[in-house]
């Protein structure tokens, strides 16, 4: 094979994994993994690698924490979105409303399902602004994909209201929002489906790619079970054209282990975020989003607006702090979006946020000492 190193992630791992205050907590998490390895030993001898018993167990636990009737394990958060759209009958030429301030997968899932994404700008909470949704609706609109950015559930009551008035489906992109709540309601309780990722850096993670869909709709559940596994009703009967997108049993075992700890993980992230909130609140160059009491934001990311963002990020990295930008280029200005016909200025709130947003490490293994150091370095930068 020709020697071309194609993998920008490798370079990225090299650059950032060595920083002592890191977004990546996996090496620490793995220190305490004997219980998981024991289960994996049993799995390999049992041999049910695809859709095995651990997947059923994980689905059962996950629907409990989501308070939904069904959960369906799939290959990734991206596939969870894609399969949900397919199960809802989204097809070529349909329009799907979503936010331009998201990870690429949201748009990838819409486009690969055959639909056209229609962007709507965000509000001050970094999530899609429900007040702007209706003007984006056309006769081709079929669904809304709200994204619960950083683990903050969108204003779902308003979005449901709009969807009902216009007969639209809702697929919640809850990839950041495991265990999150708004008015005591979880992601998935209002949308037709909600889609979660268990990518290694998510609050509830596995050791590779994995995703899960929750729904209260039996018909959707039955379709999704077919769609993730080649459309097979039994071993030999195939009802529909479908896909291969399964949560590996091995990864479900990892998920089963960490789902027991999800309340602790969530509490730690919230505690760390509140620590930052308090310590950073008196820095005039920093704007912390307003926190609302009816919301349980689970802080997959701790995002704030900062002035001189790029310089501050460099300064923090030079001091061993893995400050990240999620993400500097909004979706409507990506090279991939050129055919959608958007231009600079179309979504001013998103564009401004992309220039100012910065994420600080907030996971459960960050210590108060590390956070104090981070705060001190930020203050130093601005002094």
């Amino acid at each position: 094979m020709k020697e071309i190193s194609h993998n920008f992630l490798l370079k990225q791992y090299k650059l950032t994994n060595e920083l002592p205050i890191n977004h990546n907590y996996l090496p620490q998490q793995f220190q305490d993994s004997e219980e998981v390895i024991d289960e994996i030993r049993k799995l390999v001898v049992r041999g049910d690698f695809t859709l095995g018993s651990a997947v059923n167990e994980f689905e059962a636990e996950f629907k409990k924490i989501s308070n939904t009737r069904y959960a369906i394990g799939v290959g990734s958060g991206t596939d969870a979105l894609f399969l949900s759209l397919k199960a809802l009958g989204i097809k070529e030429g349909d329009e799907v409303i979503t936010t331009p301030y998201t990870f690429y997968a949201t748009i990838g899932a819409i486009v690969t399902a055959g639909a056209i994404p229609k962007f709507v700008d965000i509000g001050s909470d970094y999530n899609i602004d429900p007040d702007l949704i209706e003007e984006a609706i056309t006769s081709n609109t079929k669904a809304i994909v709200p994204v619960h950015w950083s683990g903050l559930i969108c204003d779902m009551d308003s979005i449901r209201d709009i969807a009902d008035r216009h007969n639209l489906s809702i697929v919640e992109d809850a990839c950041h929002a495991i265990n999150a709540k708004r008015n005591d309601k979880t992601a998935g309780s209002i949308g037709d489906t909600a889609c979660f990722s268990m990518h290694p850096l998510k609050n509830l993670n596995v050791w590779g790619d994995g995703g899960i869909i929750v729904t209260n709709n039996k018909e959707l559940h039955d379709k999704l079970v077919l769609l993730r596994n080649h459309g097979l009703r039994g071993r030999d009967i195939c009802d529909v054209f479908a896909y291969n997108s399964r949560l590996d049993t091995l990864q479900a075992i990892v998920g089963n282990h960490y789902i027991k700890k999800i309340d602790h993980i969530t509490d730690m992230r919230i505690k760390n975020a509140h620590f930052y909130d308090k310590e950073l609140s008196d820095i005039s160059q920093i704007e912390i989003p307003s926190r609302s009491p009816e919301v349980k934001q689970v802080f997959h990311l701790y995002c704030i607006r900062v002035s001189e963002r790029d310089d501050l990020q460099k300064y923090l990295i030079n001091n061993g702090i893995d400050a990240k930008v999620h993400y500097p280029i909004p979706m409507h200005l990506q090279p991939a979006a050129k055919d959608f016909g958007y231009s600079q200025g179309d979504f001013p709130h998103t564009e401004k946020l992309c220039k100012e947003v910065l994420s600080l490490p907030v996971h459960e293994f960050i210590t108060e000492e590390q956070m104090n150091f981070t705060v001190q370095k930020i203050k130093e930068f601005y002094s």
Binding site: F8, I40, E92, F241, N244, Q334
Partner: protein, 365 residues
Amino acid sequence: MKIPFVNPGLQYKGLREEILSRFDRISLTGNYVLGNEVEEFERNFADFCGTAFAIGVGNGSDALTFSLLGLGVKPGDEVITAPNSFVASAWTIANIGAKPVFVDVCEDFNLNPRLIQEAITPKTKAIMPVHLTGRVADMEMINKIAEDYNLLVIEDAAQAVGASYKSKKSGSFGDAGCFSLHPLKNLHVHGDGGIITTNNEDLYNRALKMRNHGLKNRNECEFWGWNSRLDEIQASIANLKLSYLDKWNDRFLELANYYIKELSNHIEVPSIKEFEKPVFHRFIIQHNNRDDLKFFLEEKGVMTAVNYPIPLHLHEASSHYGYKIGDFPMAEKQANKILSLPIYPELENSQAKYVVECVKEFLKV
């Protein structure tokens, strides 16, 4: 004697310490997605198949999807393929909006090249031969037809890792070769996995992005894509197992030759051509009373399978294409007669002997 149809756990027992130590090492690095192990496996696998490039993906179905789309097959195009494969082959064609056009197979279960030409229309864009049971289709003729009609060739090599035809390995004949690393395959990981081989640098560069959200780098998305990546942990297992694959494939072939020697006078068995080296992912015998034979063997503790009882053109999902019973007589005849016997490297000689004895007992020979 109880003989399971498959038994991946046995292979693991032999490799347990090596797998667990890799697992431990990878897990401690904290890089679980697209790290060094994937890159190393891609390099090793491309070398193994004799291609310039390989791209690890989430599963064999996605390998096919990315190859079709990456090589430019579009909605409305037609793709010629076999009607006797696993559903993933034809369904990936349908899922991208193209139409699977079936062509009947030969005695060896592979696409009959003599029937391809009459299935070609102005809409035909590609041929997708399936190297079923671990035997490479007649790639010389298929490539010749593809050249004459300017068609792409995408090998569905999911069952044929390491199989060769005139000393060339599966996955190195077409514009792309698509492999599955599913737990039941000759080279497998401990969950879903797949890999594409190609000599086409454009496809290579495109597939690398297709599998990872269309990303050029962390912040720039060149086109809207998918998430379909081979996990690091799985790639590490694949790297380890690849070093044993030739040995295992030799054992598949040894067992197949044993079955052929013992059974060929009494029942229909595959006949190996002198210029091919099959890897017998499946060893299939054929009998008119297949269901009785299957039941008889089960009673004796010998588990078997039918790969596959319903040809693709007769599934509910393809009813709108208008195919009917009788369209592909060879595939349909085989579907009623085929039975897969247990075959895996860990199957012991005494077990294979027992299988043979049971088959002979049924045949009263």
